[in-house]
Symmetry: C2
Subunit: 448 residues, 2 copies
């Protein structure tokens, strides 16, 4: 087996925990998800474990049932700025929509975060499928899938051009002569496309990483195309090793077809964790959390992901396959989560009830000991199904503490995870090169 180096690990802070019932346990106050200290605490724990980054999901609409669960969230670029200044090494990944943002403003905000964090910013590119989001932006329903990804592609063209608009050596900073920058190295972008018309340049000099690291999280056809063309890393949802390897190979192939080095596109599946000192302890922790949801709550999670009513599911039968159309035609939610759930059920012939115990947040779930978690991370990594992982602990802060204090040392012992940060930027952690501005002239050594 080729030397696979070391894996990357992101910490996904999803509200009070990846398990929907985390808030019921009362580990922190039910409104802690509105307190910046709650997040900086988890970020510092994660940084103690030399994790690559903190990840925040997002969408511009109130999706949750406010009666039953903590609802709403702090805007990620704001919250991650606060996290970045409270930490020194860990990266910060903000989910922001290409459908409901404007490229000039978003490119500038993310570049500002890259400056403020001194090179630790990343953007997780999403297009937002839901109608509720659309209705906060003058529309009656979400644009069609194809239109959302068409816009995303052009959005990335504009944003990357803006990030390149100041060359790295544009600034002279010659106070004595009164020459601040070389104007020939600050470029209008003059983008004139189907969706956007943007003159540029960006009103902010080039940021420490050249541009923020780009993550992409959509597993639909459109999402995969945008990801393979533009992203540095893909967040994904496969639940079986077989699917994980297939997706990994597919995405590396797609990157190659865009003329890219496939090693520069990192594949990072999500992993939900419920960890205990023993398997029995982990299972008890999971049962306690599940107990708050009850049978109905667990089945509702399955139904919601398919877009059916819970009444349409028989807990003791398989999924109603005849009621489930092709994933490609699904316009009401995430293709990635739907496909991951369907594949798991189909491959293992699970009943709805069995399926509801194998999946919670939508991502692959492991309930087990630190060694078992390390085993599965190592297995996927060495088998070429992942370059890294986005970890979703069941609840915070304990789930993050257990991961950092018990899984990370195990991964270090096995040589698949770093003992210390080697560089200062998120690109350094992920092993990604710093991009050169498209406007930069070839270097002298290349010419001569």
């Amino acid at each position: 087996m080729a030397d696979r180096g070391q894996m990357s690990i992101g910490m996904n802070i999803l509200g009070l925990g990846g398990h929907q019932a985390a808030w019921r346990v009362g580990e922190v106050s039910a409104t802690a998800y509105l307190d910046v200290e709650y997040y900086t605490n988890i970020a510092r724990i994660s940084e103690r474990g030399t994790l690559d980054a903190i990840f925040l999901a997002d969408g511009p609409a109130l999706q949750e049932n406010v009666g039953a669960n903590p609802a709403g969230r702090l805007e990620p670029t704001i919250l991650l700025t606060a996290i970045a200044v409270a930490t020194t090494h860990i990266g910060v990944i903000a989910t922001c929509s290409t459908t409901y943002n404007d490229p000039f403003n978003l490119a500038r905000r993310l570049a500002s975060l890259d400056h403020v964090s001194k090179g630790r910013a990343a953007w997780n590119i999403v297009t937002n499928a839901g109608d509720l989001a659309a209705q906060n932006f003058g529309l009656t329903g979400a644009p069609l899938h194809v239109d959302r990804y068409g816009r995303a592609d052009e959005f990335l063209e504009v944003a990357t051009a803006l990030w390149d608009s100041w060359e790295d050596d544009a600034i002279l900073a010659d106070a004595r002569a009164g020459r601040f920058a070389d104007p020939t190295r600050v470029h209008p972008i003059d983008h004139d496309g189907a969706q956007f018309k943007v003159r540029g340049p960006l009103n902010l000099p080039r940021s420490p990483q050249g541009r923020p690291v780009l993550f992409q999280a959509g597993s639909s056809e459109g999402g995969k195309t945008v990801g393979a063309r533009w992203a540095d890393a893909i967040f994904t949802t496969q639940t079986t090793l077989e699917d994980g390897r297939a997706f990994y190979d597919e995405m590396k192939g797609r990157a190659r077809r865009f003329g890219r080095n496939p090693a520069a596109l990192k594949i990072m599946p999500g992993l939900s964790t419920v960890i205990g000192s023993t398997e029995a302890e982990a299972q008890r922790r999971c049962d306690e959390l599940d107990g708050y949801l009850g049978e109905d709550g667990l089945l509702a999670q399955i139904a919601q992901r398919i877009g059916l009513s819970p009444d349409e599911l028989d807990p003791d039968a398989e999924l109603p396959w005849h009621r489930i159309g092709p994933v490609e035609s699904f316009e009401r939610g995430s293709h990635g989560f739907l496909e991951a759930q369907l594949n798991l059920a189909r491959r293992e012939g699970l009943t709805v009830r069995q399926l509801s115990r194998r999946i919670r947040s939508g991502h692959r779930l492991i309930v087990g000991t630190p060694e078992q978690v390390a085993d599965t991370l190592e297995e996927w990594f060495l088998a070429g199904a992942a370059d890294g992982f986005n970890i979703m602990p069941d609840m915070f802060p304990s789930g993050a503490e257990i991961f950092v204090d018990h899984v990370v040392p195990e991964l270090r012992r096995r040589g698949v995870f770093r003992h210390e940060y080697r560089g200062a930027t998120l690109r350094d952690h992920l092993g990604l090169d710093r991009p050169v501005s498209r406007f930069a002239e070839p270097q002298l050594e290349a010419v001569s």
Copy 2:
């Protein structure tokens, strides 16, 4: 004279200083305006002086001559988040455009900043006159003045409704019963207007101040209407006490006509400062800075504000009044700065050269001792021309240090400025009530 209480003071961090040549002096590196530490240092100095807030101007385009001056800037909501977490009391005021933002996203970002800062966030509402900004957002030129302010007014309707959409007591946080919030106290806003269609509710519970404090900075007719209707405070530009009092009375009257308590609308003119231990020392400091601009640079500032070429100005004559149309028809820049400059020149019969020495950033300028600065602040405050001031020191950090260490003690001695913070929020500092959500039912005691 009625008891005027105490004044409010904001610190306007404009790049490396309010004087265009600040960067030439080399007090900090020419690229310090890209470093978060540069700003947190000034914010902590300002907090030591119990100032009300840090203010950041902004516009979504590269306006500056990059060859000659530090250009571009960090996005204010991001930078002020970093400043807020590095301080404990001082407010943070972000300038954001209603023309080039979307109400749902901006309302949420500002509410997030209010949460993260624990009630210290404010928004300075601007509409952006320039064509360069327009060309970053698909337009060839800025929308007409009347259209920009029409949009601003509706933008505020939407934003304030979103900030009200979660009532204060909506959250139950009953983990035992599994009841997070009372859904009847979380409201869609169902806004359907000429410019915006927004369903709501905001995907974030109500923020500590109810809503961010609203500043408004436009002195045109449209700006004054929006300010009188919506703002908690007005940033303004009058250069003479006479104009200051007239504007103050006009705005309080406008607020009254909107059915508001005029005391709840604070008037805060800008003041550029160049301070020395003696008048001569202050003048030397100013001359040093002016020396970098030279005669041509100083005249260019005057010409630019009128929208003429410097060639069209005779330094030894008055402004070419026949070339200057009515302020109301001026579409190429700020009405407030233009009017302030024209009034100063007209009232005092100044030549262009004299005028260029009396104004720099566009705001009223004082070159003098700490006592003289305290005199003019006290005079305007007691004469009913100002409730507070937005201070623009010539250069940072020294200009902020001198103000805090020498002017603030003088103001305290005179009883017109606080010795310590009395409350936790920016509303507390400014003496503003916390707004009640429009959706809140009348309190029981009011009904019975």
